[in-house]
Symmetry: C2
Subunit: 513 residues, 2 copies
C-alpha cells in the first residue's frame, strides 16, 4: 500500500501555485477585527510555502523523539522539546510544570490582542511495535501513497504531532510575514494523554494556569479533521474514557497458587485465570456488545438532533471504504451504516484492550498461572462520569462475588460537550464555509481527550478540535499524515498550516464566547 | 530461600562414607541372575564416588545447552549432545532419528545379558524466564538450601537431565568398576516432550526401534521420586494430556476487525477478545473446576483400590508443607488433603496456561484487538483419549455457536496404566524395601509423559518411572536437583546414581514381564 517516494520534491514555486489554487480565502473575511484587518494573508501564505521544508523537518525531528508515558520513555526530554518548540514559535513565557506524573508545559503568547485562545497539546505518543510497520516509526519517512499523495509515516504523525506542528508553523509564518498575531494564546501541553491524562488537573488547574485559561474564549486541540475525501466533521464533544486493569490473583483471592505452578495441579488447585474469565463474562452480553454491569449508568437514546447530524454526515461518507480501511466485514448486530454510526456516537463501551496471563510466548507451557490480567477501556457518554462508571464496575464485581478482582484504574476522564453556538465552533464553520467545505456537525467524537478539565468547573470553557488536512492509523501501525495531497479537496501540510492561520484570524475577528 | 554455597566440597572419602551409610544393599540381593551374581557393588560404589565431580560437571554441561522445542532452540545440537552422552555411557549403536518435528535418538547397549530393558529420555526442557530465577537457569550453580542440602539450580535440573544423567553415571560406574552390565538397554530419547511429543511414534515405532523395544521387559524413565522427606511413591501410570490454543480471530469469525483498530470503534465493531472470553466461559463451571464441555468423556469415580493407595500415601505426606511450597492456602472446593489428592489422581482438567490478546505490554493501549488466544492444557484419565477429548471440545464449540474459534492442537497423548505386578514395578518395590523405604503405590502421576507409545499396541509394554533422589520446581523458576542431601532419608546425586545401579541389577536378576 505504501511505497517509498520516487518523486523529486515539488519546487517551491509549484507548491505555492498548488496552495493558492486549493485555498480560497477572500481577504474581506479578515476585515472584522483590529488585528485581523491588518493581516496580509498572501504574505503569510508565501511564508508558509517558503518555510515548508523547515516545518516538515521540525515535524520529523519531533517524531524522532517519542515520549511514551506507559513506558516512561523520554518524558523529561519530551517536555523540554515541547517547551523549545513553543519558545521558537513565539511564546514569550514557557514553563515546564512538574506533576505527580509526567511534566506538562504551560506557555503564553501575548500579542496585545483583545481575544485570547486556549490551546491543548499532547507531546506524548502511543506505543508502537516497529516490526509491524512498513517504514521505521521514528524515521518519519515521506512516501507515495497511491490516491492519497505524499504522506509522512511515523508514530505521532497524525496523533498529534503533525497537526500540532502545523499550528506552530502557522505562528512562525504569521510572525515572519510581519503580520499582527490575531489572538493571544495560552498553551497547555501534557505528556500523559495516551495513558488517560491522570494529572491534567495539576497542570491546567494550577492557579496561574487556570487564571490564564479563564481569559480565553475556549480551548482547542489541533487535529486533522479531513477524511480521505476531504470531508470535515465538526465534533461537538468527545466521549469520556476509563482505562483500567482487572487483575485476578491467587493471593488476593485466597485461592489458587501464590506463584505459577505445574498445570497438572489444576485438579486440586483453583485457577485465577479461570476466575478472570468468569468475572469478565459477567460484564457484557453474549455477543460482547451490550454492557451488563449491574447498575451501570444508562446512556440515553440518541437525540433526534444528533440522529439528524449523523444522517447528514453519512450521506457523504463512504461505507465501503470505511469497512475496507478497518477490515471489518460487518458492523455490530449487522446494523446498517447509519445505525452503526448512531451507536458509535451515543453508546458507551467496555472493550478488552489486552489479555495477559501465565505463559504468553510461543507454543505452550504447562503452568497454572497465579495471576491473569485484562486491560480494559470503557468509553463514556454524558451524563456518565469516570468515577460513576468505576464505582458501578466495582460494586458489580463485589455483588457477583468477585470482590477480590482488583480494579486498577490508570487514567480516564468524563465526556465533554461543546455548544454549536460557541465562538470556537462558529469560527470553524465560518472558515470551512469560506473554503467551500460544507460543515457537517458530529454529535461526539468516539475517541476521547481530556477536554473535561476545560469544560467542567472551575473553568467551564468551550473545548473543541480544529484543523484541515488528513491523517490515519492513530494507535495503529503505519500512522500517517498527508504532506502533499493528490486530491484537490484534501489539504497537504501547507494547507493544514494555512487552516490554522485562517482559524486564528477568524477567532480574532469575532466577539463573545 | 536459596543462598549460594559457602561450603567447601566434602572430600571424596567423606562422601564415600556418607554414601555407604545411607545405602544398605546386602550383596545377597544381587545373587539371583548370572550377571547380577558377578556384581561387586562396593566396587561400583567406589567408582560412583570417584566420578562424582565428573558426573556433576557432565550434568552442568548438559544444562548449559537447553533444547526448547517450543522456541525451536538448540534442536539439532541437543540431539547430538544426547547421542554423545549415550555413546560415552557405553551404548554401542547410537543414531539420530529425524522426524517431522525435532530429531530423536535411538541407542542400544548390548551386554549379552538375558534381560533387555527400555529407557525413555527427553533431551528438551521447558522454557524459562531468567529474570524470575535466583541463579542463572543455564549456569547450574550449586547452592546451599537450608534443610535440604546442596542443590543444583537450573532448567532441566530435575526435569529431566538430573535423573537421566544419574542413570548415565550408573552405566559409567558399572563399566569402570569392570562389572558385568546386568541388562541390555534400548534407549529412545526425544526432543519434544515439553510440547506434547507430537512425533514420538515416528521415533519409537520405526520398525527397527519397535523391534528392539519389543524385546524389552518394559520401558522406564529416570525420575527423582523422593519428596523432601525422602518418601517415595511408585506411579502406576500417568495422565494423558492435550495442549492446544483456542484462537478467536476477526477474519475467521467474519465479524470484528482484520487488524487491531482504535478501541473507540468498539461501539460499532465486534470484539474477538470478548468472543474468546464467552467461548472459554462455556468450558468450565463458575468456580473453574468442573468441566462443562457438552459430551466430554466422563471420568469414572476413583476406585476403592486407588482411594486406599491415596490414603496410605497421605498418611506420610505433609499437607502444610505442600501448601507452603505451592503457595496454595486451600484446595479446590475446600477439600481435605486426602480428597484433594483423590481428585488429583482421578479427575481430568481443563487448564488455562496462558492468555494473550491485543496489547500485552506495560500500561494500556486503546486498541480493539483482532485476535485473542487462550493456551489450554487438558489432562486426561483412562478411558479418555486425546482424540476423543479434542473431538468433544470441537463439537461443543460448534454446538454452542463458536465453530469459528480455532482449536489448534500442538501435542498430547493418551493416559497410561501399568500393572503393579509387572517386573518393572516389582523390581522398584524390591529396591525400595531393601533400602528401608516403605513402598507407596500411587494410582497415577498427575503430570504426563508419552508412555502411551510403549503401553498401547503395537508394543503393549509396561512403562514406569524410577529413581531415588529429590528435586523440585519443574516448569517453574529455580528448578533444582539435590546434589548433597542434608537429610539421611533423601539421596544426593551419588545416591541417585546408585539407585539406578541397584534397579538395573534387580531387573537383571528377575524373569518375566
Amino acid at each position: 500500500m505504501l511505497t517509498p517516494s520516487g518523486h523529486a520534491p515539488l519546487r517551491r514555486r509549484a507548491r505555492l501555485r498548488a496552495l493558492a489554487a486549493s485555498i480560497v480565502i477572500p481577504l474581506v473575511a479578515c476585515a472584522a477585527g483590529a488585528h485581523a484587518a491588518a493581516a496580509d494573508l498572501d504574505a503569510i501564505r508565501t511564508q508558509v510555502v517558503a518555510q515548508h521544508d523547515v516545518s516538515v523537518k521540525r515535524l520529523q525531528e519531533w517524531i524522532a523523539l517519542p515520549s511514551i508515558a506507559a513506558e516512561d520513555l523520554n518524558v523529561q526530554q519530551g517536555a523540554e522539546h515541547m517547551a523549545k518548540l513553543a519558545r521558537e514559535a513565539g511564546f514569550q513565557k514557557v514553563e515546564i510544570v512538574q506533576t505527580d506524573g509526567k511534566p506538562g508545559v504551560f506557555a503564553t503568547l501575548d500579542a496585545g490582542a483583545p481575544t485570547t485562545v486556549g490551546l491543548y497539546f499532547m507531546y506524548d505518543v502511543k506505543q508502537y511495535d516497529a516490526s509491524e510497520w512498513v517504514a521505521p516509526p521514528l524515521e518519519a519517512r515521506i512516501v507515495d501513497r497511491p490516491g492519497v499523495g505524499k504522506v509522512m509515516i511515523g508514530r505521532g504523525a497524525t496523533n498529534q504531532k503533525g497537526p500540532q506542528s502545523a499550528l506552530l508553523a502557522a505562528l512562525h509564518a504569521i510572525r515572519d510575514a510581519k503580520q499582527a498575531m490575531p489572538v493571544n494564546l495560552v498553551l497547555v501541553a501534557e505528556g500523559e494523554e495516551e495513558i488517560g491524562s491522570p494529572n491534567i488537573g495539576q497542570l491546567a488547574l494550577r492557579p496561574d494556569v487556570q487564571a490564564a485559561l479563564k481569559n480565553t474564549v475556549g480551548v482547542f486541540m489541533p487535529m486533522a479533521l479531513q477524511d480521505a475525501d476531504g470531508e470535515v466533521v465538526v465534533n461537538l464533544g468527545a466521549k469520556g474514557i476509563v482505562e483500567l486493569e482487572l487483575v485476578a490473583d491467587g493471593t488476593a483471592w485466597g485461592r489458587g497458587p501464590a506463584k505459577d505452578v505445574h498445570s497438572s495441579l489444576k485438579a486440586m488447585v483453583d485457577s485465577p485465570a479461570w476466575r478472570l474469565v468468569k468475572a469478565l463474562d459477567t460484564l457484557v452480553s453474549d455477543d460482547g456488545n451490550t454492557i451488563t454491569v449491574d447498575g451501570y449508568p444508562a446512556a440515553p437514546p440518541i437525540s433526534a438532533e444528533h440522529r439528524a447530524m449523523v444522517a447528514a454526515a453519512m450521506a457523504k461518507r463512504n461505507e465501503a471504504r470505511a469497512r475496507q480501511q478497518l477490515g471489518v466485514p460487518r458492523w455490530i448486530d449487522d446494523l446498517p451504516w447509519q445505525q452503526a454510526n448512531e451507536r458509535l456516537v451515543s453508546q458507551p463501551t467496555i472493550n478488552i484492550e489486552g489479555l495477559v496471563g501465565g505463559y504468553t510466548g510461543p507454543g505452550g507451557k504447562t503452568v497454572l498461572p497465579h495471576r491473569a490480567v485484562a486491560k480494559i477501556d470503557m468509553r463514556l457518554v454524558p451524563p456518565m462520569t469516570r468515577d460513576g462508571a468505576v464505582a458501578a464496575l466495582k460494586a458489580h464485581l463485589a455483588k457477583r462475588g468477585y470482590g477480590d478482582i482488583a480494579v486498577n484504574v490508570s487514567g480516564g476522564y468524563n465526556p465533554t460537550s461543546t455548544d454549536a453556538s460557541s465562538r470556537l465552533v462558529q469560527a470553524q464553520l465560518a472558515v470551512l464555509k469560506r473554503n467551500g467545505l460544507e460543515p457537517l456537525l458530529w454529535p461526539r467524537l468516539a475517541g476521547s481527550y481530556p477536554g473535561f478539565v476545560f469544560t467542567e468547573p472551575p473553568l467551564g470553557l468551550p473545548s473543541a478540535h480544529f484543523g484541515l488536512g488528513h491523517g490515519g492509523g492513530a494507535h495503529a501501525p503505519d500512522e500517517y499524515f498527508v504532506i502533499e495531497s493528490s486530491k484537490p479537496a484534501v489539504r497537504g501540510y501547507d494547507g493544514a498550516v494555512m487552516s490554522y492561520v485562517e482559524y486564528l484570524y477568524e477567532l480574532g475577528s469575532g466577539s463573545g464566547r
